[in-house]
Symmetry: C2
Subunit: 146 residues, 2 copies
């Protein structure tokens, strides 16, 4: 075991419940970073666990790694993120979550009203006018402002 302050890939992987290969992958994609020890092995601060947790959380919301990376731009690369850095990120994230929850609620309401009714007229049915609910502004869902 290394010093408490630094973590090996294995430790991070175990802690986050992901494979080591995923950590390599995230690092390669620039989503996380660390340094190497004398033997060329990866070392991380505990900071990385929070990042990975956020990655996993965001992915469950259908946010791509690219978008996550953009959101992480609010965090410093060199120094360990401070309370303020995280608060900033939390803020942005929070907004898109709120938006997304609202969208889902809207969709749920539409489904209830629309499918349940049989919609035999099909004129005012939002499911027959997919552009209303389903297609969001611009190409693809805008979840995080890049």
């Amino acid at each position: 075991m290394s010093i408490d302050a630094e973590l090996s890939v294995g430790q991070v992987a175990k802690r986050c419940g992901i494979n080591i290969s995923a950590i390599h992958f995230y690092e390669q994609k620039g989503l996380i970073s660390g340094w190497r020890n004398n033997g060329n092995q990866r070392r991380y601060t505990r900071d990385v666990i929070r990042r990975i947790s956020l990655i996993k959380a965001a992915q469950q919301l259908g946010i791509s790694l690219d978008d996550i990376k953009h959101a992480f731009a609010a965090l410093p690369n060199e120094r360990t993120a401070t309370k303020e850095d995280w608060a900033e990120l939390s803020n942005v994230w929070n907004k898109s979550l709120t938006l997304r929850i609202a969208q889902m609620q809207k969709l749920k309401d539409s489904l209830e009203g629309c499918i349940g009714c049989g919609c035999l007229s099909m004129k005012n049915c939002p499911l027959y006018n997919p552009n209303d609910i389903l297609v969001e502004q611009g190409p693809g869902p805008v979840l995080l402002n890049k």
Copy 2:
């Protein structure tokens, strides 16, 4: 233009805002179905638009085509779905939407409380205990009961 009652792939594609290739794909995957005219061209009832709209809606919620297919098992393959068929499906869908909204809300609350605070102690931080929020029961998110 063919008779009002039947639609060609092109018409469906235009109506749903997707590519013809996607329709071929969905048909091949068994998510939608229709028949062929004398010249071997695909024909559909307007029913298919609702199905595709639902596919698109569900996808936005991170539900896989496989899961959607399972959910569609509630709909008849041979006859056109009745009001009751759709109501049944709506019911199932509605439950998972409700669940998913709740999960998101929970995640949002955690982020607010956890990231905003800086979590310097890292003992009670849910983001450092990913198994609580992030990993759901069983392998992968359970969105629709298959």
